[in-house]
Structure formats: structure tokens, C-alpha cells
Symmetry: C2
């Protein structure tokens, strides 16, 4: 069982659109549910929803309020337990500051991508390299994925989930679920 | 690479609600997208959306029409390729008839559940037991899962996806994604 401090960040900016332009994407509220449920299943320490857009933060906050403090949490306490993992922040810098504040350890940032990148590490090798004196945050891009500049600023990148068909258009919800399973199943 | 005939069925009836009562659930359209994208990634032969409810079939048909024949397919051909895997049928009997018609082979039905069941088989063992002279259909329950009677009528059942926390409330989208990765990653 993996006991390391692993956090997730769901990035809405900077990501790219279909044309490869760097954008801030809109929130997809089901991402919060699915990623929180997967994160809770595998034991991640926290999940950050990252968006600089004020109206999207308000929307994310409303979802959390409904399911944590509101009627949603009373109807479905399991959903409440999962969504309690989530914090809403403005930037990936804020993610790393929050993690340092909580864990007291330096943070290693890991990007993900549906494309192959030089030096990418397989999820199971990543698990084997984890050290107790660091925290780790794995960043997932919404829309058409993390921007190249964002990826370059991370300390590492995971190999993409590949099937056998050449088709590489999983939802971010599926990609998070599969990578968590591969990482925590050591 | 797994070349066997594996199909998926997303069951909306008979499933259970929170109280354990057998119901027909409403369609969640994002299930169709996520499961089709995961199915396309790993190379499943087809995906059946199973509902006896006429209005839910109409809704499912509208989603497919938009993304396959309509503007959605022109804007996002990758989504079209994935959703083309889907057929809408009324019952699990119909699923099995359709598969026999397509593959010409007898069908082995495999249930899934978030709970432990006696005799459940691990996903990787399942992959190793596959034979070329059968087709296989893996059934996933929406709502709070497949009914016990449904599970009993299947030829086998897969072990649930377990993390390390005791929390077993993954979305069906996550469960499908993880189990496909475990099955096809042999």
C-alpha cells in the first residue's frame, strides 16, 4: 500500500484548445465528482481544482457547498467524503504553496499528457521512485490538455495511457482513474 | 495485445437504487461519451446501452445522432469514432442476440459489482482465460449497481476495483476505464 503524499491538480489554465491555442477552460462539474471519488478510493491526500476565472470558482464552490454543507451531503454522505478532498485555487503556484503548508515537504510536480514526451515515466516506475521526504502533485489538463510551457515547468511527466488502437482521446475523468489505479496498485 | 471479441453493456435495468430496490435508471449522457472513448482506446468490439424506457432510448438516440450524423461529428471526428461503437437496445437478452448475430460465436456474460462476490475473478486472470471461440460481454450497472438476480444470471463476475481506503464508490465511468485497462493490459 502506497502511503506517500500524492495530490492531484485539475488544471483549467493554462490548457490548450483544439487548435493548440492556450486558453482557460470552463469547469465541467462532473470532473470534480469523478476525480474526487477516484482520489478517495485510492487515497490521494488532496485534490486542487485550478482556475483563475472568478465565475468558475463560484460555480465550483457551489458544487462543493451543495454536496458538503447542503442537502447533497445529507442524501449522499459518500459523495461528501469524496468532495471534501477538493480545494479551489487560482494557479498551480497556489497548489504548491498549499501542499507545502499542509505537508511541510518540498513538492515534486508531475505533468500528464495524451501525447508521448521524451523522458516520460511509466506510472508503475513512478510509484517505485516515491520518497517519503517529498510530496507529489500530478497535474491533469482539461480541454485538449496542459500547455507545453506548463509541462516544461513540471519536474517530470507520466507516460500517456495507451490502448492498442492508436486512439488517444480518453476523458480526463478516465485518464485520472486509470493512472491512479496504475500508480497505487504496486 | 488482446484480440478477443469483448463487448460492453451499460445496464439501466435491472439495477438497484440506494435502498436496494430494483429500478430502471435514467440515462446519464456523459456515460456514453466516457465509456465509448475508453472502449475505443482499448479496442472493444461494441458497446450496448441497455434501457427498456422509450424516452431514454430517444435521448440516447439524440446524443448519437448529434455526434455521429450531426454537427458534433464534423466538429469532433474523434468523438464520432468512439460513439459509433454504441448500440441502443431494450434488454440484456437483446445484447446477447446482437452479439451472436455479429460475431457468430456463443456469448459469455460477465457481471461487475462494487461489492465482493464469491467466485469473482480478477481482471488480469479473466484476460488470460479468454478463448477465440467465444464472445464476451461485460455488464456494468448504473445507479447503485446491477441487481442480484441479474448478477446470478451471468456466467461470471469480475472482482471489484478496490483502492486502499475501504471507499468503494467509483463512478461507472471510472470503473469501466480501470477495468478495461486491467483487462487489456496483458
Amino acid at each position: 500500500m502506497l502511503e506517500n503524499d500524492i495530490y492531484l491538480a485539475l488544471i483549467h489554465s493554462p490548457v490548450v484548445n483544439k487548435k493548440g491555442e492556450v486558453i482557460a477552460s470552463a469547469l465541467t462539474t462532473i470532473d470534480m465528482h469523478d476525480i474526487a471519488r477516484a482520489g478517495k478510493t485510492f487515497g490521494v491526500k488532496g485534490i486542487f481544482v485550478v482556475t483563475p476565472l472568478e465565475d468558475q470558482k463560484v460555480l465550483a464552490r457551489e458544487v462543493l457547498d451543495h454536496w458538503i454543507c447542503g442537502v447533497g451531503g445529507r442524501i449522499n454522505p459518500f459523495r461528501k467524503q469524496a468532495l471534501e478532498l477538493i480545494k479551489i485555487v487560482s494557479s498551480f503556484d497556489d497548489v504548491q504553496k498549499e501542499i507545502v503548508k499542509t505537508s511541510g515537504k518540498p513538492v515534486i510536480s508531475i505533468a500528464t499528457s495524451a501525447a508521448r514526451h521524451k523522458g516520460a515515466i511509466a506510472a508503475d516506475s513512478f510509484s517505485q521512485k516515491l520518497e517519503d521526504n517529498f510530496s507529489y502533485v500530478i497535474a491533469f489538463g482539461t480541454a485538449w490538455g496542459l500547455s507545453n510551457d506548463f509541462i516544461k515547468q513540471c519536474d517530470g511527466i507520466l507516460e500517456p495511457v495507451k490502448g492498442h488502437t492508436g486512439y488517444n482521446h480518453l476523458s480526463v475523468r478516465s485518464a485520472v482513474s486509470i493512472l491512479l489505479d496504475r500508480i497505487f496498485r504496486v
